[in-house]
Amino acid sequence: MALIKCENVALGYGGRVAVSGVDLTVNAGDYLFIIGENGGGKSTLVKGLLGLVRPISGKIEYGDGLTRRGIGYLPQKTDVQRDFPASVHEVVLSGCAARSRSPFYSRADKMRAHETMRRLGIHELERRSYRELSGGQQQRVLLARALTAAETLLLLDEPATGLDPAAMTELYATIAELNRSGVTVIMVSHDTNALCAEAKTVLHMRKTPLFYGTLDEYLRSDVYGALKGGINGNA
């Protein structure tokens, strides 16, 4: 059984269809890269996978012990976070906020947060304030929070936005490393440079899937050629 299986899924708001015809299978250990231009329905698909938007038709199934609440989500950066006075420790630990009904974090939650910070090499920043960190460090902290929330599957929405090339390469390397250690990854981006991020499968969206297959096939496909050549890249 796959972790996520989409069958002919259509999604939209208020009766307007934004995405349709999505067939998708995500198995444990996969690294799926969802690429597409802005307005191509990537964000809607993300909301659908997270269960925040119900499919108009078709179905999204979760299996292998995964529930839609069990997805570690890294949303796009918000304006609110830019100068937010929070310690790295507080942010990473907040990944546990939805895990239990208890008002306080348990010892196990704290251990989990520590372990994740160590895994991503940010435990030395633990007492630092989130707003003082570099863009790359901030993304690493949010990645740690997602991983604290759920360790089977990560859903990353444009994780490299606003990072300089060095920090971007480093972040992609970390994500690939996580994937090698068994974490299933779905990454969403409009950036073709991110293709070097060691993804295994690619889904190219423009309202409907234009391409769905392995990375090698994608790099040889017409869809990719057209995107690179810019012939109908801005449609």
Binding site: Q76, V80, P85, E90, L155
Partner: protein
């Protein structure tokens, strides 16, 4: 002041007003931290204006001493309406606030002009009571209940309040009932505004929500420390302003806000100076390091 305190009746009135104000300040500052961080400071201001209209309705109904109790449900309704409008995107967030707050202000002014006229009643709801005699035992019990509820909410829901304030999208995906925490904040903010309005005035009550949070954010590095610092600054600022107003016969509202403003300016200036000194020191270190290196 000392003569005031020597009279048992007067000192009881004074003490009652001080306790009400300190508790309202405490509640306002804690809620203020989440409001300021979520870029919703103007909502506090909008609600305060709505409170003015609500108080006018209460006066129209001839509530007398029960005016606070009558305005609470009206302001709560207005606050839920404001949150709904700004969330649903029917109007832009800031436009929604402008519409609701000016509409309620207008209702208030019209009601006052048809009933009591432009009197002390209206003036005190706008700028805060000139006399602390208007603070009743009912206000005292309300403020105790308010502070207790706000403190309890922050203790019980602390982890989720932090998570929701920091990142709504993440929380929604993880299954936290984001709307529930927003509604709680909206309801408590409106309670705070109504209870505090009498003393501070509806035009200035949002200063109690915004200033302590801003001051604390200047120098605190974690969410927990911001909450603690903001509530301390708020209560201390209130007591200073309140006793200053008694001593110098100034209106309590304006005095308290003036002290809060002063605290903010002092903290901003000192953190700025501290920041510059740290930077200079870092440059110094760098220079001396490079000199040492070139010596080698």
């Amino acid at each position: 002041m000392l003569e005031l305190l020597s009279d048992p009746t007067l000192s009881r009135i004074l003490l009652r007003a001080a306790v009400v104000g300190a508790l309202v300040s405490l509640a306002a500052s804690m809620l203020g931290v989440t409001m300021v961080l979520r870029r919703m400071s103007m909502i506090g201001d909008g609600l305060a204006h709505a409170g003015f209209g609500a108080l006018a309705v209460a006066t129209l109904l001839g509530a007398g001493d029960m005016d606070t109790e009558i305005s609470i449900p009206i302001v709560m309704a207005a606050s839920l309406l404001l949150f709904y409008i700004s969330e649903s995107g029917i109007l832009g967030g800031d436009a929604a606030i402008a519409v609701v707050s000016t509409a309620m202000m207008t209702v208030g002014v019209l009601i006052f002009s048809f009933t009591t006229g432009y009197t002390a009643d209206m003036c005190s709801s706008l700028f805060g009571s000139a006399s602390i005699l208007t603070i009743t035992d009912g206000d005292l019990y309300l403020s105790i209940a308010l502070a207790a509820v706000v403190a309890a909410v922050f203790i019980i829901f602390y982890t989720r309040i932090f998570a929701v304030t920091f990142d709504e999208k993440f929380c929604a995906a993880a299954g936290v009932r984001v709307w529930f925490y927003k509604m709680i904040t909206a309801a408590l903010i409106s309670l705070t505004v109504v209870v505090g309005m009498k003393m501070i005035g509806s035009l200035m009550i949002s200063a109690l929500i915004v200033f302590p949070a801003l001051s604390a954010m200047r120098f605190c590095k974690s969410f927990r420390s911001v909450l603690i610092a903001a509530s301390t600054i708020s209560v201390v600022g209130f007591l200073l302003g309140f006793f200053m107003s008694c001593e110098l016969s100034m209106p309590a509202g304006a005095s308290v806000v003036a002290v809060d403003l002063l605290i903010y300016v002092i903290i901003s200036a000192s953190t700025a100076i501290f920041g510059i000194r740290q930077k200079l020191r870092a440059v110094d270190m760098h220079m001396s390091n490079s000199i040492e290196n070139s010596d080698k």
